[in-house]
Symmetry: C2
Subunit: 688 residues, 2 copies
């Protein structure tokens, strides 16, 4: 029970920390706590250097600049799509790895974008004023309009100043704060180095979220400007010795999502509907993909990246489900909620928050009612196909672009257009047989969940079987061709209306129902919940003070901690692994087969070299690729995973057992200098 | 909330029924309630005729005699294995259906057995006396020895009397009662008629557990004795008009499993571990089977039966999970438990029950600890292969048969030997590619859950991949041949020890660990739980009286009810469907494609013929194939499913919405007389 207590002491009371908890914004980093706990003085300059060195990969990862010439360190699994997109049956970069012989041989990652957070601006007063006086059902719309307006103003201003920024509205503390984050964005991202998948993901899915571990989950990208390596004078340097056991460590990056501030009724929605739904869906999809992969090598190659992400999702959700099914945790969350509600009831200045929890419960009830039709049409479970995804984007973009900017769906505003266009014109391969597996699956399950007599199913399938219908759509569509997509995008509504592409026709067919359900979600669920959450957030500040961190939102955060093992079932888990055990665990069969380069190099290597290690830092998915830095701001590791206990971090922080798993600098140095003999990169990284 | 109340009023208080609840034993059927509620007087003679007419198919279904010459009515899905086993790529009986032109062309269902319950004997005093004085850890063993002894004595006595019976010990009310059930067993079961799968399971998985419905889910078997149709003077006759809306109906059969008397800690084990585990496992297996089925027609044919059972399991467990995640239901169960505990605390004669709930909670905690290793070795999740199953049976039979009868594992006693031998010598096909899909899946997931460094995984896989290892085992094993199996069985331990079959070797390899875990379950979980459950059951009788029904145990039960639709989201669902709508729903693509015979017959048929219908009877899986009879004891329907609300029937009875779904006699008559023109069968069934 102690583990729950630690998390809730902070969230609930703002008590001085006794655990290395929190993914903190840079403006509210708990410097005093760190000073007291670790004797480290975190300065403005230190924070500033870290901030400017951290890179966000828009596909969902973190990274950092590691040279003055745009070199970027991240995980291997963060470039999996880039490797797959640039592979062919004859030249499989996932299996073989990649090293650019010279800089001009670095290869473009289609559609990849890298962003650096340059500046932030608190716009809470503007947004709360705008939504303060409207009805709950209008909140979502007014809020969206306000955020779009603020983003547009910011981008226009930056363009005028000659230093263009991508401006994004950020909601923190569930609506307790609104910010505009201003990014410098690199659109030309190239791959410089990636090891073989077999060493990067040694142990595969069985070892995923496990420790001890031996993964060289690293890669090196380079950002370009005007066709040349970008100048990045602010960057991080390696400390090749790494950090000692107990030494303080910091992880900076972009953690994706946590749900630690959610109410009990929101957590129960997760527990009762969302997690069971997605687990069953992913598990079947995993089975289909694995069996499909056995049909031939090309099937295996093309499905590999997707399968890996499904397997990761399953492991995460299984552990999340276990966490939420622990009634003791739910009781603790409930007690905490009751405590805050009692404080609110007594404080007349917080009257607006009194109904907030019940309002959320009502909204969650509505969400339960429409979850199934929504999730299959608008919520991402149905139409499981890249071609359909392009079609929907084209159909919606055509329609939305006819509207004034502020009235558009958020993902079709002027600010979002460059990214959308980049995605549409990216030369990413589409594999028809792989598409067939996904789309046929989606149709079959849509029919199961909605029922064969549902209007959407009748109009989507007609009298065809899921297989037949998927086949005719995929064979008939030309949207795999970036030129066709770009033409439809540039042609706008007239071009989309004139299109006879069957996937476009399907996207048009389902759009009214899909939008109808989206509107219900926005007006009857998200809107009222935002109002309520904002009231709760403000009550929490008032009652517990501002020494709180917001839930993760894939925006820049900093966590503190130290190198440390933990105790598992009474046995101490040491914080470091070494190369000797990597070789001992090698069986010759995937995912425990080592690449030939590593087998050949064995006799040359110091087998006491550290491979992976763990720290107490509080991170979550999205932090993949984050540098682990020491008090001097040097890189002492590369975060690529958490241990199995880190998954409950979605809901609370388990200080005793939650651990960040990182690649040790010794492993990186050994790989680059001795195994791959990457002379130029080693020099650029100052490996002696 | 009303629906929970109804279930719990009965279980909790024994109050006079207000709902058609309960799967009652024949000795304790609530005749007074039925008389009062429906004005039907249930006589001893009526009960006796029903009991002698009901057949249990040992594969897990119910059935009934419908002629004096051994003709047996059951569902199509209850003979799916028989159809598949007798099919070839050229002659697919699942797709084409089967009708024996003459009786001598009826085909043997390999390994099938049919049983009729002739007599029951209450042995509660004997068993409770035997286990009354031993420690909880010894209870399982002593109980098993006692039951085996009672079974053996019963069988020997019946053999001497010249009328041999199969005697089975039955535990009712979680240990509140013990009985010996004496069956007449038919070992020669043949198939007389089955329609095409497409009409039997029209709507397939999407329609499974749904209503309205249009399935001709029927088949006709015949039991033989000494090579001739058995004489079955006691049998049921059809009323071809069926039953009117509101007319009382009775369902007799062998419901499989309910868990209505389980404690809250047992239900939470279901909710937290078992259901999530099996759902994920089945979902992935479904995906693998579906994708495998797409590789060619033969793959589809051989995987079809197995896939169908997986899909059924998924649907059941999804709904069970939803039921247990309803915190209101859990709170009701908890309140009911507290009420009984309070009564126990006050009654000094029930002192032995005071610790019972906590004892179960402790046992469930132990169960949680060992669930993963147990489920993959002994619990049925791992070694997912018919060949391995044979191997384990042979290895264990060899070992167990060296022990005195009473000290053997329960499934290897002398009483169980005939069934075991019949299973081993049955000529059921083994498909190596299909085996490969299953076993490779099992190995891969065992490795995921146990971890690659687990001793069992290392010894089972060595340095091979799951695919490689499965392949060498399946290719190397000769256990697909019934003659090889029989030789090993007859040869006993010497033969098994001398065998070089790799599957036998694998079964031997894992047996010590598998047995070790089984012993933990028996001694530390099942044993203590039995003691506690028995104390609770006796307390329940004392506090609430004996007007209670036991949980389902795949033994003979009778439920009462009436033809009735229900209200779904404010809309009345009519109790009958008709043929006209069947034709309207036909799309031409499976599972909504009608067989040619039905398309051709359309113009000849009366489209107002009733197809399926619903009643309020309380049934559960295992009741499939049960006759639905009227007050006169005539068959007015053939139970084949429940509606979606029936699935929560595992935990409580929802009187408002839980419905039995049956084939209407008009549909059966039309099929036999007009569509299939089964003249001889029609005559035997007295269709005019």
């Amino acid at each position: 029970m102690k583990r729950f207590l630690l998390a809730l002491m902070l969230v609930g009371t703002g008590t001085l920390l006794v655990a290395d908890e929190g993914m903190w914004t840079f403006d509210n980093f708990p410097r005093d706590v760190v000073q007291k706990r670790y004797g480290v003085r975190v300065t403005d300059q230190w924070l500033n250097t870290i901030q400017r060195s951290i890179v966000r990969l828009e596909t969902g990862c973190s990274a950092s600049f590691v040279s003055a010439e745009g070199l970027v360190l991240t995980n291997h699994h963060c470039v999996a799509t880039c490797l797959a997109d640039n592979s062919t049956p004859e030249n499989d970069l996932v299996a073989a790895g990649f090293m650019a012989a010279t800089r001009d041989r670095e290869i473009r990652c289609q559609g990849a974008q890298a962003s650096v957070l340059m500046e932030t601006q608190n716009v809470t007063p503007t947004v709360t004023a705008a939504i303060g006086s409207v009805q709950p059902a209008q909140v979502a719309q007014i809020r969206n309009q306000t955020l779009t307006r603020l983003e547009t103003e910011c981008e226009e201003a930056s363009k005028k100043s000659g230093d263009p920024r991508a401006c994004e509205a950020v909601t923190l503390y569930q609506g307790g704060q609104y910010w505009i984050y201003k990014y410098k964005r690199y659109e030309d991202v190239r791959l410089a180095f990636a090891p073989e998948h077999a060493i990067a993901a040694f142990g595969g899915d069985p070892d995923n979220f496990q420790f001890p571990r031996w993964c060289l989950d690293m890669s090196l990208l380079r950002v370009y400007e005007n066709g040349k390596p970008a100048s990045t004078p602010t960057h991080l340097n390696f400390n090749w010795n790494g950090a000692a056991d107990g030494e303080p460590t910091f992880v900076a990056g972009h953690p994706g999502t946590t749900e630690r501030l959610k109410t009990v009724s929101q957590l129960k929605m997760q527990r009762d509907l969302l997690l069971p739904f997605w687990l069953i869906r992913y598990a079947e999809l995993r089975g289909r993909m694995i069996q499909y992969s056995k049909t031939d090598e090309e099937a295996a190659r093309t499905a590999m990246d997707y399968l890996g992400s499904i397997e990761n999702s399953i492991k995460v959700r299984r552990m999340q489900q276990l966490a939420l099914l622990d009634d003791r945790m739910m009781a603790q969350k409930d007690a905490e909620e009751q405590k805050l509600r009692a404080a609110v009831a007594k404080d007349s200045s917080l009257a607006s928050a009194r109904d907030a929890w019940d309002a959320i419960t009502r909204a969650e009830q509505r969400s339960r009612e429409i979850h199934i039709p929504w999730v299959w049409t608008e919520g991402g479970a149905g139409f499981n196909s890249d071609l359909f995804f392009y079609a929907r984007q084209l159909v919606r973009a055509a329609e939305e672009r006819q509207k004034p900017n502020e009235q558009r769906l958020r993902e079709y505003t002027e600010g979002a257009m460059p990214q959308l266009k980049a995605a549409l014109e990216a030369k990413q391969p589409v594999y028809p047989e792989f598409e067939q597996v996904k789309l046929s699956f989606a149709f079959e399950r849509m029919r199961e969940y909605l029922g064969p007599d549902h209007a959407i199913i009748k109009s989507v399938l007609g009298t065809k079987s899921p297989d037949e219908r998927a086949k005719e759509l995929i064979e008939g569509s030309e949207l795999a061709d970036p030129a066709v997509r770009l033409e439809l995008f540039e042609g706008g509504k007239a071009a989309v209306d004139a299109s006879r592409d069957p996937m476009i026709a399907l996207a048009k067919l389902v759009d009214p129902e899909s939008r109808r359900l989206r509107t219900i979600v926005e007006n009857e669920i998200d809107g009222p919940e935002r109002v309520a959450q904002q009231a709760i957030a403000q009550a929490r500040f008032k009652v517990f003070g501002t020494n709180l961190y917001p839930d993760a939102t894939f925006t820049l955060r900093l966590s503190y901690g130290a190198v440390s093992g933990w105790v598992e079932n009474g046995t101490k888990v040491e914080p470091y692994t070494r190369l000797d055990r990597l070789y001992e665990r090698t069986t010759g069969a995937p995912p425990f087969a080592l690449p030939k380069r590593w087998l050949d190099a064995k006799s040359r290597l110091d087998l006491s070299t550290r491979a992976n290690f763990v720290t107490t830092n509080d991170i979550v998915g999205g932090n993949s690729g984050s540098p682990i830095v020491n008090a001097a701001g040097e890189i002492v590791g590369l975060a690529f995973d958490g241990n199995i206990h880190s998954i409950s971090g979605s809901y609370w922080f388990d200080a005793e057992k939650n651990r960040t798993v990182g690649v040790h600098p010794q492993f990186i140095r050994t790989a680059l200098a001795e195994v791959y003999q990457a002379t130029a990169l080693a020099q650029e990284l100052k490996i002696r």
